[in-house]
């Protein structure tokens, strides 16, 4: 097991800089997910940690050792690829044992390790098969088995589930989580799927255009996104956004802040914010599940689309001012298209962002208060 630290890691292809001075530390045994849209540099970053891509500047440190110039095979890491990258001419056992053979491990010990890994992954009966004789999920398991047998200090996963269908993806996600619990090895996982990121990670690194937007636990990312990008990227359905002005701030207890949408709708949240002034224009973000139907709710609109998901129902509500908000309700409430609706917003799901897109944080004691409230609800 090993800790991994990235110090000002950059990558350029000619004049094009694709990764800009990335800096974060991964603790020993931690499961960290790198997430971001296509082209954000997450795979490049993973490949630089693996040693498959030279580093333009900065340092990658694994287990206390700078590995910039150390070839992949000496970094004590294993990687699972998106396309599995199995050797088609070797059996499952051959695929899993290839690294051990190259490392000169005695045959008996290699066989023991292969059997043990096969048992963990439920591949015991398939050891003599060739990759072409396996299903997608089985191939994925072999790819993981190939990594496990080496007993590396760090596992790297490059979008390992994106070639699988939805049901299998969910199953494999659980298996990877179990694997991490069982092995306790440091894992770095790249995905563009926020559900994978949220469910698997101890901490998530959100990347955008080669820069780190935020490094935090999944819940922290969701409840305190550092900026508009993170707020929009994390959460499904996405955060509802609207431009608004600050109409009034009550600084005394009980604190409150009055926010006015462009159509004149007034929304009051019972907390205060740092560096916020009356008259300031902000981006108001409200999580879909923080919008609740209420007869006296300040936000008025009409139901435009109803998406029943079974346990949840999504309502697309067109506000009188023209914006569209998505409301997530539990249960299958009987909403009809075109019916008028009034909504109120839970303060815990309301986020304000300044003109630069940065989060305007709530006052510290309000944060504690909100956290208690969220805790009580959940």
């Amino acid at each position: 097991m090993a800790a991994v630290t990235l110090k000002s890691v950059s990558k350029s292809y000619g004049l094009a800089k694709v990764v800009h001075g990335i800096e974060f530390a991964i603790e020993d045994g931690e499961f960290v997910v790198l997430v971001g849209p296509s082209g954000c540099g997450k795979s490049t970053l993973l490949r630089m940690i693996a040693g498959l891509e030279p580093i333009t500047s900065g340092e990658v440190v694994i287990d206390g050792q700078i590995v910039n110039d150390i070839p992949p095979k000496y970094r004590d890491i294993a990687m699972v690829f998106q396309s599995y990258a199995l050797y088609p001419h070797m059996t499952v056992a051959g695929n899993m044992g290839f690294a051990l053979k190259l490392a000169g491990l005695p045959k008996a010990e290699a066989a023991t390790r292969i059997l043990k890994a096969a048992e963990i992954l439920g591949l015991g009966d398939l050891l003599d098969r060739y990759p072409r004789q396996l299903s997608g999920g089985q191939r994925q398991r072999v790819a993981m088995g190939r990594a496990i047998v080496r007993d590396p200090s760090v596992f790297l996963f490059d979008e390992p589930l994106s070639n699988l269908d939805a049901a299998l993806r969910m199953q494999m996600r659980v298996e990877i989580a179990e694997l991490h619990q069982r092995l306790g090895t440091t894992m770095i996982y790249v995905t563009h799927d926020q559900t994978e990121a949220m469910t698997l990670a101890d901490r998530i690194v959100v990347l955008n255009r080669g820069c780190v937007e935020q490094v935090a636990t999944p819940i922290e990312l969701y409840t305190r996104p550092a900026n508009l990008f993170v707020a929009r990227f994390i959460g499904s359905p996405p955060l509802n956004l609207a431009e608004a002005d600050i109409a009034a701030i009550t600084a005394d207890s009980p604190r409150s802040t009055e926010i006015v949408l462009k159509d004149g709708t007034k929304l009051t949240v019972d907390c205060g914010y740092e560096r916020l002034s009356v008259g300031q224009t902000v981006q108001l973000g409200i999580r879909p599940e923080a919008l609740l139907p209420a007869d006296d709710g300040p936000i008025a609109g009409r139901v435009q689309i109803v998406e029943p998901l079974g346990g949840l129902t999504l309502l697309h509500v067109r506000l009188d001012g023209g914006d569209t908000f998505i409301v997530q309700l539990t249960g299958a409430a009987g909403w009809r298209l075109g019916s008028p609706i009034r909504l109120k917003a839970e303060t815990s799901g309301v986020h304000l962002f300044d003109s630069a897109g940065q989060r305007i944080p709530q006052l510290p004691d309000d944060v504690a208060l909100l956290a208690r409230r969220v805790g009580a609800v959940s």
Partner: protein
């Protein structure tokens, strides 16, 4: 409407069949004629009305070429030269194509163009200089000189075909092997070569056939039955007064058979090799 459509389809299919038959006849007819000639008596070959079916058939020509003309020695020579050429071409070509296709290398297409340009020299233009070099090196009338020349002539083709073949293998396979601890040589031998077997069979056969059929260099650099290859041997059948068409045809049939057998054995690989990468798998 439907009737006219099915009529048009029937006509189209008939035309296609006729065209296919014509092409097959066009390609196979000379070979069939050759086979027929190999089994005809000499007097019938010059008869006013030639016949496709030999009557009576004769094995005289076969007996002639193996008895009197010791054709088996030419076959041995050709097998040694063409076999060695194919193997050496594959060994060198695989290493070169692997480096060009899979390793970080600058200006790979520049290098590929230079390699290709080698095969564009008119062969007649290089016979004389090569003759002088071979004579100075004491390589005249050896297998070695033919193998060296054929390898040089065959390599561009082998490198280009294998290069194309290697490029169809996903790069992630290399990366997986690198992570598993394989260096470039191990990657080539244990992963890329086994994955490219159809490509090797195809290119190996192409190199073999090229060397098997080559005439001009073999004629210029060898003398005497101990080193001459099949094409030169067949040309030697003709003497000042007489062209032994029957013997020539028999020899041609005998030397074509190994190629036909090889192609039939490896047919599956060849088709796979020639179409590899044409469609996304």
């Amino acid at each position: 409407m439907m009737a006219s459509l099915s009529l048009r389809m029937a006509v189209g299919r008939t035309l296609l069949t006729v065209a296919a038959v014509l092409i097959v006849v066009w390609s196979v007819a000379p070979f069939l004629w050759q086979v027929s000639t190999a089994f005809q008596e000499d007097r019938l070959l010059t008869a006013a009305t030639p016949s496709l079916l030999p009557s009576p058939p004769t094995l005289d020509h076969l007996a002639n070429i193996f008895g009197e003309k010791q054709f088996q020695l030419y076959i041995v020579n050709s097998t040694i030269v063409a076999g060695s050429t194919a193997l050496i071409c594959l060994a060198i070509g695989a290493a070169a194509a692997f480096a060009l296709a899979r390793l970080r290398m600058r200006n790979r297409f520049g290098i590929l163009s230079v390699i290709l340009s080698v095969s564009m020299f008119p062969q007649i233009a290089i016979v004389a200089p090569l003759y002088l070099i071979a004579a100075a090196a004491g390589l005249m009338n050896t297998y070695t000189v033919l193998i060296i020349i054929y390898v040089a002539l065959g390599l561009p083709l082998v490198i280009w075909v294998l290069f194309g073949y290697f490029q169809t293998i996903p790069l992630e396979i290399d990366e997986a092997a690198t992570m598993d601890g394989a260096g470039p040589l191990r990657l080539l031998v244990s992963v890329i070569v086994p994955m490219s077997l159809p490509g090797f069979v195809t290119t190996g056969l192409l190199a073999f056939i090229m060397a098997w059929n080559e005439f001009m260099f073999a004629l210029s650099f060898t003398s005497g039955i101990k080193r001459q290859t099949i094409p030169v041997g067949i040309a030697n059948f003709t003497n000042l007064y007489y062209v032994p068409w029957g013997d020539i045809a028999a020899a041609s049939v005998v030397v074509t058979l190994p190629l036909v057998v090889l192609v039939l054995i490896f047919q599956r690989y060849i088709i796979e090799g020639l179409t590899q990468g044409a469609v996304k798998e």
